[in-house]
């Protein structure tokens, strides 16, 4: 990519975000009165923002469980179990979407490999869940069923620590984080940017998918990991466990939002946007874009790993098809549909696209790919700012 082309595309595609700057102005004005010795330039959320945030969190983490568990099943307000699990899944997707938005919307890096980080988090959790089955599997062996099937006699070394829930939780964070750090280190150091980065992340997903499809790799090959029974002693078939996982996923999304919001409103967030808009200038201003990119790429991967770990116990399976390049690209479309560079649009997009997917794949399965394809084209051509862009424009 030539310099000119990059800067041209940056200029045309940089979605600038009126909300943040106007909020900054407000905050600015309010601080001039107090004039503290040192302060953040932007608050993480405005007062109104915190109110809305709290209301949404309360609704999804308290009201929804009540509608499911406390409201009798014949009531019109009752929320069936399958919807709770579905929403739980959507919250996991929303975490991914926010993490993607931090990377793409703010820093201008489009990763087409985030499905890998999601799947790695899922695999780490899946390994624990599979070990938690103990000898209650089909073959009544202490080894996971697929290993018995492959005639393995001993647990591979990388499976051994996964018996412990907390080790698995650490692996959920560390494995995607490490991969992202290493990959990002090589990629950003050699100044691979723009579509080149997108393409090599896609190659990364492709390679890892092939690797995980192999039986010898030791993650159940084609079938992946499944037939989970317990998580931390709780049965996965109990409604209370399902509700618990749902609430955790929702909480995960709200915490993810706050973390990302903290990053984007900090000075580091302004550096990230500066990297997106004029990488040369930020470099000549004394910032090292590589370390900022590496930080945000790794953070985003870790968040995806958490999302994957929350996702797997709810859907009950993890297999290499999660690493298909198409899955990672779909993640990008959630963000694009919701609207980039706001952190609010991304979860909206995740809910909207996946809601539509759930409906279409049941009602009109043949049409779903047309709808998805049309979304890809339509959003890029006609709604570059996505749902949130339309909403915030009409709200003003």
């Amino acid at each position: 990519m030539t310099e000119a082309a990059v800067s041209k595309s940056e200029r045309e595609s940089s979605p600038t975000e009126a909300t943040a700057s106007s909020e900054a102005t407000e905050a600015q004005a309010s601080r001039e009165v107090k004039a503290p010795a040192a302060s953040r330039l932007e608050p993480v959320l405005s007062r109104r923002g915190y109110a809305i945030f709290g209301a949404l969190a309360l609704f999804s983490m308290a009201i929804v469980p009540i509608l499911n568990a406390a409201v009798p099943a014949d009531s019109a307000l009752h929320l069936p179990d399958y919807l709770v699990t579905l929403f739980g899944k959507f919250f996991c997707y929303a975490i991914v979407a926010i993490a993607m938005d931090l990377l793409w919307g703010y820093t201008g890096i489009l990763s087409l490999g985030h499905g890998v980080f999601f799947a790695l988090g899922g695999y780490a959790m899946g390994m624990y869940l599979l070990r938690a089955i103990g000898d209650a599997g089909v073959y009544r062996s202490n080894l996971p069923d697929f290993m018995v099937f492959l005639d393995w006699k001993e647990l591979p070394w990388f499976w051994k620590p996964m018996d412990d829930f907390f080790v698995a939780c650490i692996a959920v964070l560390v494995v995607p984080g490490m991969l992202a750090y290493l990959f990002g280190f090589f990629a950003f150091r050699s100044r691979i940017r723009g579509v080149y980065f997108s393409i090599i992340t896609q190659a990364l997903t492709f390679a890892l998918m092939l690797l995980f499809f192999r039986n010898e790799t030791g993650f159940g090959g084609n079938n992946g990991l499944t037939d989970f029974k317990h998580i931390y002693g709780y049965s996965l078939h109990e409604r209370s466990t399902k509700l618990g996982l749902y609430v955790l996923s929702a909480a995960g999304m709200f915490v993810t939002f706050l973390i990302c919001r903290f990053v984007t409103t900090s000075k580091a967030g302004r550096v990230l946007r500066a990297i997106r808009d004029a990488e040369n200038r930020i470099m000549f201003s004394g910032y090292n874009p590589t370390s900022y990119k590496l930080f945000v790429f790794t953070l985003s991967a870790v968040l995806c790993g958490i999302a994957g770990a929350l996702y797997v116990p709810q859907v009950g399976i993890i297999n290499p098809s999660e690493m298909q390049p198409s899955n990672s690209i779909e993640m990008a479309i959630w963000v694009a549909v919701g609207g980039r560079g706001s952190l609010i649009g991304a979860p909206l997009g995740a809910f909207a696209v996946n809601g539509a997917k759930s409906w279409f794949t049941v009602a009109l399965p043949e049409l779903w790919l047309y709808v998805l394809g049309a979304l890809f084209i339509g959003v890029t051509l006609f709604f570059p700012k996505g749902i949130w862009g339309v909403l915030s424009r009409s709200g003003r």
Partner: protein
């Protein structure tokens, strides 16, 4: 504010303002420290520090600040810089001229770290580190700033934020995650805003500014960055005569406290500001000296002035 006033104000306020925490840079020569980061790998192993003898030879007997020592850059066999040596003194205003392809832009690229030379090194006085082994941002942190020909500001950020990002200080990821803006820094930004006449646009997105305002914002950012060396690339390209005058005043005002290097094509403009002129030709220094001396140099007349 007129150009003269603003230039004067800049000279008066910017470098010597008492609130500025950073000590005057030239007082604090950094100990030579090897760079931790590796740069683009080259075939032959290269030294990370400058040869002592060369250092002494180049800096002896003058108030040198930045030395470019025997730098060669070639692109596919074409030598953009050919064993070029150049010493810039503290506080001087140096004009670098030369016909197209003389290596002016490549020279700036080498100094700012954008281009890695095939051989030779660049160093600052008081520090034996070879700057060519560093990345762009590390060089910038050492006080070498660059003004692009086309104004380059952060379009999506407000003017205030643009200046905030330019302030000196710790620029690592974690420092900026938890960074807070001190009162002194805030005042400093406000003063700079006044200087560049953009106070009422403080919270306007830079992308919405006019071309001229962007130029001034970029200058403000460079000043906020506290540079020791300021590289300015063709500052008057496409300017009216009046704007040229104003820019000349500004550059003259900036020199003295900091080293200013103006790379320029326009001889008229150079004549109006120049104290020392370096003429580049085919990647080498053809002549160096006062404008008059250079102008009467037969070699220069032949390759450069003779043409125009």
């Amino acid at each position: 504010m007129t150009a003269v006033e603003s230039a004067r104000a800049l000279r008066d306020v910017t470098p010597a303002s008492p609130e500025v925490e950073a000590p005057p840079p030239e007082v604090k020569p950094e100990a030579p420290k090897p760079s931790k980061r590796r740069s683009i790998p080259s075939i032959a192993p290269r030294r990370r520090t400058v040869d002592k003898a060369r250092y002494e030879a180049l800096t002896a007997g003058r108030k040198a600040l930045l030395c470019v020592d025997a730098v060669t850059v070639s692109f596919d066999g074409f030598k953009a810089l050919d064993n070029l040596t150049l010493v810039l003194d503290e506080g001087e205003l140096r004009c670098i001229i030369g016909p197209n392809g003389a290596g002016k832009t490549t020279l700036q690229d080498v100094i700012t770290g954008k281009t890695k030379p095939d051989s030779g090194c660049v160093f600052m006085v008081g520090d034996h580190t070879d700057l060519t082994q560093l990345d762009e941002h590390e060089i910038a942190q050492r006080g070498i700033c660059r003004k692009f020909q086309r104004p380059t500001v952060f379009q999506g950020h407000t003017v205030f934020e643009n200046l905030e990002l330019a302030l000196p200080g710790s620029k690592g990821v974690f420092a900026s995650l938890f960074a807070r803006l001190s009162r002194a820094e805030r005042e400093r930004i406000e003063r700079t805003l006044e200087l560049i006449g953009l106070t009422e646009h403080a919270h306007t997105r830079a992308g919405l500014l006019s071309h001229g305002q962007k130029q001034w914002l970029e200058i403000g950012m460079l000043l906020a960055q506290e540079p020791r060396v300021l590289l300015v690339d063709e500052p008057v390209a496409g300017m009216t005569h009046k704007e040229m005058e104003r820019t000349a005043e500004l550059l003259n005002a900036l020199a003295g406290e900091r080293t200013v290097v103006v790379v320029e094509h326009d001889m008229e403009f150079v004549r109006s500001i120049a104290r020392t002129v370096t003429v580049l030709h085919e990647g080498r220094v053809l002549a160096e000296g006062s404008m008059d001396a250079v102008q009467n140099d037969p070699k220069v007349i032949e390759v450069y002035l003779g043409e125009s």
